[in-house]
């Protein structure tokens, strides 16, 4: 059969996949096809449905509708085990390497060579088998090394080797390079190429454009849970990809007007911490909403935590109202007028079983009661005042927060920080998990706070939201502020384009 290699054999095919979560349509008639031996990049904005689709392919989620075919035969992946049995292996971002075991034990887990009818573990054979797998894949690791001493990148190699050893047909890599160094990245790329040469179909989720072009054969783009396009990498360029990822008509009303004359309140200079924040600079102005865009893992939350005094930077500095600002803790940041409302309302924002009053008053207690004594009526009165200002709908200040709706919980989470009378307000995903009505109210509130003179940093993964509430929009990419655009002229495309800025480009 001449030229049979030219026609790619479809290995895995997902078609008409729909998946609904409470309140969200994560996938809407999405499709994806993977050929044997190809490296296929899956791209899309935050929340486009990439991870959900891959969790369906690896058996973690069941689709509400749609079909999965392997080698043309319809299958049902009832769980991770059944996906593995079908040859689909996944390396997720959260690594599952056991730090107290050796590389060999991690590699061979569940498949340890045994002797005497399964009673004795054959340690020698275990180590030899593991080392053979490592050498075969060109991974420079000792099978006897304790996994706890490996770097994140090396642990990732172990994960991939573990999947490879089980002779995968499909290997899914979810943002494999997000925490790797340059050398480790190279190693990973050659590992990926080696596996694809052996006929393994590789699905590669990444936020790095350069990797997509360097490594992939084909690209599929998802947007809002729907399939947008699929094509050979050679036929696509960066602009085409970004247009495909955004692709909506933007006609939202915008409030923002960037004003150069506003006084600078907070100056952030080259802040860095670990691998998440790598020299971010920006300035916040009184009376202005600075929106902040960026892909997952761009370091936005981590930067906000540094400003809020939750974490300490490794290097870089800040100036607040013209004075040096290096908060030793949240208490100091609060005292200097900086407040941070977390994106994780249930875990970090609120104390759910406590009352609305106790939640709203919690960060303000010290200010309200310098001597440390405060009556319940005072707390309730203080809270009632803030509930009214933000329009929190609850039977009273004594009601437990976990009985409120998402929108009202979010208002309580904002009220608790606004009640501290902050002059710099850091809002991390202020409308996450909130219905449309409450969203509009929160937008109005944010604009009002700016009008009243506060300096606001609003982190959001929804570009239309940023365009609507911001005056200027900073875009973070790989731990740096890649650029700041006036909201009036910014577009989803220009913001997304900046989001894909890579380290080499910003460093220049």
């Amino acid at each position: 059969m001449p030229g049979w290699r030219k026609v790619p054999r479809v290995l895995l095919e997902l078609s008409h996949i729909t998946k609904r979560f409470p309140g969200v349509l994560a996938l809407d008639d999405a499709r994806f096809a993977l050929a044997a031996g190809e490296v296929h990049a899956l791209m899309g904005e935050n929340g486009a449905g990439k991870s959900t689709l891959m969790k369906i392919a690896s058996g973690l989620f069941q689709p509400d509708a749609g079909e999965i075919r392997i080698d043309g035969r319809a299958v049902r992946l009832s769980g991770p085990a059944s996906a593995k049995a079908a040859g689909i292996h996944t390396v997720f971002q959260e690594l599952t390497v056991l730090p107290n075991r050796s590389v060999a034990e991690n590699l061979m887990i569940g498949r340890e060579p045994v002797r005497a009818g399964g009673l004795w573990l054959d340690r020698g054979a275990l180590i030899r088998a593991a080392q053979r797998i490592l050498d075969d894949l060109g991974i420079p690791l000792e099978a006897t090394a304790p996994a706890g001493r490996l770097s994140t990148g090396q642990r990732q190699m172990v994960e991939i080797a573990r999947a490879s050893a089980q002779i995968p047909r499909v290997l899914i890599l979810d943002e494999p390079t997000s925490s790797l160094g340059r050398a480790e990245e190279e190693l990973l790329f050659s590992l990926v190429r080696r596996l694809s040469e052996r006929g393994v179909g590789i699905i590669y989720i990444t936020h790095r454009m350069s990797e997509v072009f360097a490594l992939s054969d084909r690209i599929t783009v998802l947007r809002d849970g729907r399939y947008v396009l699929s094509g050979a990498t050679a036929d696509l360029d960066r602009t085409a990809l970004i247009r495909a990822m955004v692709g909506r008509d933007v006609a939202e009303d915008r409030h923002g007007t960037a004003d150069d004359d506003l006084p600078v309140v907070l100056e952030v200079e080259r802040l860095a911490r670990g691998t998440a924040v790598r020299g971010a600079s920006l300035s916040l102005k009184a009376g202005e909403v600075l929106g902040m865009a960026g892909l997952m893992g761009a370091g936005r939350t981590e930067l906000a935590r540094l400003i809020a005094g939750i974490d300490r930077p490794d290097s870089g500095g800040m100036t607040l109202f013209g004075k040096p600002y290096a908060p030793a803790g949240i208490g100091e940041a609060l005292a200097r007028g900086v407040a941070y409302a977390s994106e994780d309302r249930k875990r970090l924002g609120l104390v759910l079983p406590l009352s609305v009053a106790d939640n709203i008053a919690l960060p303000s207690l010290r200010r309200l009661a310098p001597l440390g004594v405060i009556g319940p009526n005072r707390i309730a009165g203080f809270a009632r005042d803030w509930m009214e200002r933000l329009g929190v709908r609850a039977a009273g200040p004594g009601v437990a927060v976990d009985t409120l709706s998402g929108g009202n919980q979010q208002k309580v989470a904002l009220a608790k920080w606004l009640a501290t009378a902050p002059r710099v307000i850091l809002l991390d995903e202020p409308t996450r998990g909130v219905d449309v009505g409450a969203k509009a109210e929160i937008y109005a509130l944010i604009r009002q706070l700016a009008t009243d003179g506060a300096a606001i940093l609003a982190i959001s993964s929804e570009l239309p939201e940023l365009l609507q509430i911001s005056d200027r929009i900073a875009v973070m990419a790989q731990g740096r502020v890649a650029g700041i655009l006036p909201a009036e002229t910014a577009t989803e495309e220009s913001l997304l384009d900046l989001s894909f800025t890579e380290a080499a480009e910003t460093a220049a």
Binding site: R347, L348, V351, P353, D358, L362, I374, P376, V399, A400
Partner: protein
């Protein structure tokens, strides 16, 4: 005292039973012993019951705050014995009782703070830390005494902390009442007290709200230590001596009182008033079972079953999510 409705979800019936348990249980055992023993329902016995339970009450109040934080202190019984021994020895050495009491109070607070500091700074579960301290305290009490009890000769001490009356009430009862009101005021009306509820229910959120979580924990363990020391003073006065293992059931009883009071062992929910009821229930049980000549070992069995019942109820009531 939480004004915030605790764990609102969960099966209503189990929650109702949990919330009524300390009151209904107390009433139940009182009625039961009143009917079963002719000696139970008289003023003299009641006064003895109250004085005898003062040690338990003080420790249970402290335990309420510790459990509110989602921690536990297993060392209380052993430390009460150790401090009682030290108290007796200081007085035996010729020092006056005020000095001895002051020294023991300071030492109690120090041991408590140490429990807290090891838990918080060493990031070790308080269960393990206080288990270790329990063993050390028990061992030291035996080492110091050679396993015999040391009699307390100071007449004024014995009178003041056991027999004396003020305002017509026995002094131990007064001490318990004052401590109760102080703890209530602390939890309900001070910044630090309010913060404890947040720390217990969600330490991460509390930390992000500027609450010094570690300092609060050490503080509560130190308060617990102070209450343990006061309990040791009352216990020594009642027994007229300091001896190792003098209060073998105290730790169990104190934890039982808090749990019968409907507190969550995961932290964030506890009530002093209901602990008071729980402790009273245990005290009546102790007193009544002695009156009825129930075998001491069987007493443990009864109390153990009550604890398990209370815990199961608490889990059902907070809707033990499957």
């Amino acid at each position: 005292m939480t004004r915030a409705a605790p764990g609102v979800r969960g099966p209503g019936l189990a929650r109702l039973i949990r919330d009524l348990l300390p009151y209904a249980g107390l009433l139940g055992v009182i009625v039961f012993f009143a009917l079963s023993s002719e000696y139970f329902l008289n003023l003299r016995n009641f006064e003895r019951l109250v004085t005898d339970s003062a040690t338990l009450m003080l420790v249970a109040f402290g335990m309420t705050m510790v459990i509110l934080l989602g921690e536990i202190d297993l060392s209380v019984g052993a430390v009460v014995s150790l401090l009682a021994v030290i108290l007796a020895q200081i007085m035996e050495a010729g020092a006056g009782w005020p000095l001895a009491v002051a020294a023991v109070l300071a030492l109690g607070i120090l041991i408590g703070a140490l429990n807290g500091a090891l838990t918080v700074l060493g990031d070790i579960p308080s269960f393990i830390v206080t288990l270790g301290v329990m063993a050390i305290a028990t061992g030291l009490a035996y080492v110091f005494t050679g396993a015999i009890s040391i009699a307390i000769m100071s007449e004024p001490f014995l009178v003041l902390f056991y027999d004396a009356r003020a305002l017509g009430l026995p002094v131990p009862l007064l001490i318990v009442a004052v401590t109760f009101i102080a703890c209530l005021a602390f939890l309900d009306r001070t910044v630090a007290g309010r913060e404890l509820f947040a720390v217990g229910a969600n330490a991460d959120a509390a930390r992000l709200s500027g609450v010094p979580v570690r300092r609060r924990k050490i503080m509560v363990f130190a308060i617990m230590g102070g209450l343990v020391a006061m309990a040791a003073v009352l216990s020594a006065a009642r027994l007229g001596s300091g001896a190792p293992a003098s209060v073998p059931a105290l730790t169990l009883d104190a934890i039982a009182a808090v749990i019968i009071g409907g507190a969550s062992l995961f932290g964030g929910r506890a009530s002093l008033l209901r602990t008071l009821m729980g402790a009273a229930l245990i005290a009546v049980l102790n007193n009544g079972m002695v009156l009825m000549n129930v075998n001491i070992d069987l007493q443990y069995v009864v109390k153990g079953m009550i604890i398990l019942l209370a815990v199961v109820l608490e889990r059902l009531a907070s809707g033990a999510r499957s």
